[in-house]
Subunit: 200 residues, 2 copies
């Protein structure tokens, strides 16, 4: 670690994104101010404007980073279970829940609707779409293996994504009764929710 700050930061843009992610993990969404992000990255509060048009733009970059990390995690789970289509779907879905539980503030930002005009952020759209496409692929694999009923894979993918995302969202909002969570784990709730979809 350099004792003296170089006047120019090497890659301030990514350093700001990293700082934002760290603040989210530490202080949550409430602590995510542009000025705190700049402070943590070691620059003045106006410096981020050299790389981001506004706070929305930084949040878009942080969200995009989140979708890329999510994809890494989901793809790893899918790859580790490529031998059994049914288990591949279950474990990939479980990885989605794990991601939400491990970094709830980051997950919330990704889906918090703070971004009003996501059309303005093509990397965001691309990164989030890649996750959807992964689900479609897994659904198609399950269909080919006779584990999921045939039909338009896109529709089934949305159904499954909605179920898994809904579980993650309700869990983060503490909307799942604790009386229920004392009896069953989130994983069991997930398995129970997805079981009904399978052919047999």
């Amino acid at each position: 670690m350099p004792a003296k700050k170089t006047y120019h930061h090497g890659d301030l843009k990514n350093a700001l994104i990293r700082a934002g992610v760290e603040i989210l993990a530490g202080q949550g969404i409430g602590g995510l101010s542009l000025r705190q992000v700049a402070l943590r990255a070691g620059v003045s509060h106006a410096a981020p404007y050299a790389h981001f048009a506004d706070k929305q733009s930084l949040i878009a970059a942080i969200s995009t980073d989140g979708f890329r990390r999510l994809y890494e995690k989901l793809a790893a789970a899918a790859h580790a279970n490529s031998a059994d289509p049914r288990q591949q779907l279950l474990e990939t879905a479980n990885a989605y829940l794990e991601f939400a539980a491990e970094d709830p503030a980051h997950f919330k930002v990704m889906f918090s609707g703070i971004l009003e005009q996501e059309k303005d952020y093509p990397e965001f759209v691309e990164a989030s779409q890649k996750n959807y496409e992964l689900v479609v692929e897994i659904v198609q694999t399950c269909q080919s293996a006779g584990v999921l009923p045939l039909g338009p894979a896109e529709r089934t993918a949305i159904s499954i994504w909605a179920t898994v995302h809904g579980l993650a969202a309700l869990a983060l909002e503490r909307q799942i009764p604790h009386t229920l969570l004392e009896q069953v784990s989130m994983r069991e709730l997930l398995l129970h929710s997805l079981e009904t979809l399978f052919v047999s």
Copy 2:
């Protein structure tokens, strides 16, 4: 009751909640500041502190109001379809999607996780729990009618709520591909998602 003071409001507390709901509908979450709420209610920016401990507390009240409205809408849909359990479930779920689509900002606040300590807001917990209990009742009705498979109603209720909530959340975040939405409506996506749950 003593005669009304000349000051201003009779029931500032509810006027502030109403003002907040109106701002959400008009300007979205970004416009929801305590000062703007006070301005719209016709009082000074410090007046809300006579009725709410802080901004979180006002947001809790606005969220609670949202859960009560949601319950009204869901209960009305359930009551209008009490003759057919299967349709009752479908139409009540559809009412949930409609609520989210009609007042997206209010819906988002309810589930935005802005509330960190919902334990501190018992009316909030009570209002949101009432909706969950309605779903459990509908599930039990469906089970009694042989429309849903037997088993713990709480678990199935969470599965269904997660699916419906996930659809609403993904739709509001525009995460459902427009190529898909050009082919099918949200209602059809919902029906497709719930169909798999039924016995036959």
